[in-house]
Symmetry: C2
Amino acid sequence: MSKGIISKDEDYSQWFNDLVIKADLAEYAPVRGCMIIKPYGYSIWEKMQAALDKMFKDTGHSNAYFPLFIPKSFFSKEASHVDGFAKECAVVTHYRLKNDGEGNIIVDEDAKLEEELIVRPTSETIIWHTYKGWIQSYRDLPLLINQWANVVRWEMRTRLFLRTTEFLWQEGHTAHATAQEAVAETEQMLEVYADFVENWMGVPVVKGRKTANERFAGALDTYCIEALMQDGKALQAGTSHFLGQNFAKAFDVKFTTKEGTLEHVWATSWGVSTRLMGALIMTHSDDAGLVLPPKLAPIQVVAVPIYKHDEELENIRTYIKGLSAELRAKGISIKFDDRDTQRPGFKFAEYELKGVPLRIAIGSRDMQNGTVELARRDTRTKETVTQDGLANHIEQLLEDIQTNIYQKAFKFREENTTEVDTYDEFKRLLDEKPGFLSAHWDGTPETEQRIKDETKATIRCIPLNNKQEEGKCILTGNPSTQRVLFARAY
Amino acid sequence: MSKGIISKDEDYSQWFNDLVIKADLAEYAPVRGCMIIKPYGYSIWEKMQAALDKMFKDTGHSNAYFPLFIPKSFFSKEASHVDGFAKECAVVTHYRLKNDGEGNIIVDEDAKLEEELIVRPTSETIIWHTYKGWIQSYRDLPLLINQWANVVRWEMRTRLFLRTTEFLWQEGHTAHATAQEAVAETEQMLEVYADFVENWMGVPVVKGRKTANERFAGALDTYCIEALMQDGKALQAGTSHFLGQNFAKAFDVKFTTKEGTLEHVWATSWGVSTRLMGALIMTHSDDAGLVLPPKLAPIQVVAVPIYKHDEELENIRTYIKGLSAELRAKGISIKFDDRDTQRPGFKFAEYELKGVPLRIAIGSRDMQNGTVELARRDTRTKETVTQDGLANHIEQLLEDIQTNIYQKAFKFREENTTEVDTYDEFKRLLDEKPGFLSAHWDGTPETEQRIKDETKATIRCIPLNNKQEEGKCILTGNPSTQRVLFARAY
C-alpha cells in the first residue's frame, strides 16, 4: 500500500499531519478547528482514559458531571480567570432557529437569551459555584472530584490533537481544608500524570513548575510535565494547579473548621487532554507510520497467514486459534487477519502504519517447522522463533517493546537537553539543535518575555528538585541561583 | 437521619425530585434546565455505560467522536430533521468576549461568526457529512459506529434526568449496503437495549414501533422500548431508527456495489440517555429511598459494625476484611462503614436511601455466635445467618434481588396493562387507574392526535409481534386489525 506520508526529516509538521490522517486516527471536521476522532484513534484514547480513570479512583477521586454551559456572569467572578479565557470562548446567544418563510433557516431573534452562555473552556467557575452548596464543614472535605468532558477554546491556529477548538479532556477539581493539603494534592496528581505518561505512553517527562507568566489563569502555582518531541520542540503534557483560595473567595465557599472558625476552602485543578494523543504519536513514530506502546495499542499482536491453498489457511487458523486463547488469558489482544482481498505485503505495511507492536507472519513451511516469524514494530527487526512457548515469548517481547520505546525517547531527550551559558549559544542551538536548553534566568517576567519575543523559546518549567547553583542570566547577566528549562514548544 | 422525602402516594412527582436530590444523584445547575450529576449518581451512570459499551462492542461497533458544533447549513439539509429540532437548539453566534472598558464583560460584536453553529441536539447531519468521505465501496460497509456524548435540546419544561436541556447519551450511527441489513441492525439494537434495560436495570419493557406521528425526525421507522413507571405513566427508554436513505441522499453518500452500480447507503441511528437513570429510579424505589439492582449498584453490600469498645470494632474489622476478600473474588463490591461520627441507625437509613441492595449488621454477640444480620433493601426484610458460607449466600441473595425487583416491576406492569374497548372506559381508566391501555385505533394520525389532545394519552407503540384481531377504533369506531398501547407518558 502507498502510505502517502512525507518523511519526518523533510517536514516534521506535515509528517505528523499525514500520519494522523493516514493511520485513521483523526481528521478535521467541517467546523473550524474541530476534529473528528476516528475509531482507531478513539480506541487509543479509550485505553488512555481507562488507565487514567483507574489511577484517579485509586487515589480517592470520584467522577461527576457539570454543565456544558457557563453563565457569562460566573465567568467574570475570578478576574484573572476571565482575562485568560474571554478571548477564546464560544458564546451561545439564542435558543431557537426558525424558517424565515422563504425556506431559509435563520436564528429566531425572539429567542435571545437574557444572559449569554459560554461553552465551557474549563469548569472552575461552574464547579466552584456548585461547591458552595456542597461544602459547609470540615467533614465535607476533602472533596475529590473529576470530570471527563469536552471543552471549547476558540484557538486561531489549530492542529489535529495538539490544538483544536473542541477537545476532550478530564478536569479534576478538589477542595481542601488547608493550603498544605491542597499543595499535596497538586503534587500527587502531577505524579499520577508523570506515572501515566512515562509508564503507559512511554514518554519521558520533566516535572516542574511554571513561571508566573505561564501559569493557569487563576492559579497561584502551576505544576506541569513537559515532554520533548522528535523535532526538538517541547510539549506540555499535563498540568496540575494549586488555586489557593482564589475560587473559594470568588464564589464564597467557606467551611467550619474543627475549631469552629469559618474559613475559605483551598483548591486544586488538574487536567490532561486529547493533546496526549499528539504527544504519543510524535514521540515514537517514524516514516513507516505509528509506533504504539503495547499498553495502549488497540491491537497488540497481529497474525498474518501466508498461504496458497485453503487447507493451508485452515491449518494456520487452527494454530492461531490456540495461540490466541493463550494470549487472551494473559490479557494480550491478537487479531488474525485472514482477509483474502489483500496480500501479506499490503497487510504488513498497513499494520506498520497503524503501529501494531508485534506482527506474526506464518506460512506452511513455518507450520511444518514449528516456527513463526515475529516482527517488532519499534526496531523493525524480525526473528524466526519456535512455536513452543510462543505466548510467553510474546508476553516478554511486549514488555521489552514497552521499555525500549521509553528508553529510546529518554535517550533522545538526554541527547537534546543542553546546558547553555550565553545568549548567542542559546539562539544558535535553538536553530541548529533544538531541544531543551537549560540556562540561567534572572527570575523576572520581563526577561522571560524578551527571550520569548526574540527567540520564540519559553520557559517550559523550573524542574522540581532543581539543583541550586550560582550563575548569570543568559540575557541580562543578572545573578541567578538555578537553571530553568527553555524550549520552543507546541 | 431525616430523609426529607415526600411519600410517593402523596405526590409522585415531588417524591421523585426529593429522592434524586436526597440520595445525592443529581441537582439542578444554575443554567436553565441543566443538571449536575453528582458522584453517586454518576457512578451508576458509569456502570450503565460500561455494560452498554460492552454490548455495543460485542455486536461489532466501534466508538468515535464527532464535533459538538454543527454548522446551521448542515442542519437544514434533511427537511423533516430540521423541522424536528430547529425549535429547541442552542445557537453559538460569537467566539469572543471582551471588557467594555467599564469593567463589564460583554460579547465582542467584532467576533461574530459568519455562519452560526448549533450545539448538537443529535449528530446525524455532521456524521453523515463525514461518512461521505469514509464510504466509497461496498467494502466500506457496514460502518458501525457509536458515540458517547453530551447533547443539548432547549426544552421548556425540564425535570432531573427525565428531560434536561443538556443530557448525556450514546448515539449509534450505522451505514449499510441494503435496506434489509439496516432494518436488521435497527432491530438488533432494539434487542440490545431491551436486554440491558430488563437484565441490568431490572425494568421490564414493551418492544414496539412508533406511529408516524411519534417517529424520530428523519426516520422511516422508529422502534422503541417502553417502560411503565409506578404512577402508571409510560417512559420511552430507548429508540432505534431505520433512517432509510434520507440522510444518505441529503449528504450525497453513495457506494459502489459489488455489481459496480452506484447506490445511496442505508442508515440507522439509535440512542439511550441519562433518562435511563430516571427510569431506574422511578421503577423500583420507595418512600425509604432508592432501590438499586445489584448489577448497577455502586455499593452492592455495606457492612455496619455495632460496637461499644474499640477492641470489638477490631474483631469485627478483621472478620469483614476476610469476607471482603471473598466477595471481591466473586466480583462483589462491599463497603465497611466504620465511621465513628454516626450511629448505626443513621447509617442504616442512609444506605436505605442510597439503595444499597444488601446490608450486613454485625455486633459482638454476632461475633460470638458466628452470625451476622442481613437486611435486603428490596423487601426490607432481615434475617440472621451463620458466617459459614456467607460469601456464597450473599452472591445468591444478590441474584435473587436482581430477579425479584424485575419480577415485581413486571407484575406491576401486568396489573396496570388493561384492554379497553370504549373511549369512555379509556378516559375513566386514565384518571382512575393509569397504566398501559391496549386499545383499537383506526390507524390515522388524525385520530391519534385527537385522542392526545383530549386525554394527553399517546400511542406509546405498536408492540412487535402484535396479535392481529378485528376490532373497532375506540374514538371513531372505524375498523382496526390490532390493538396498540396507549398511555400518558414522561
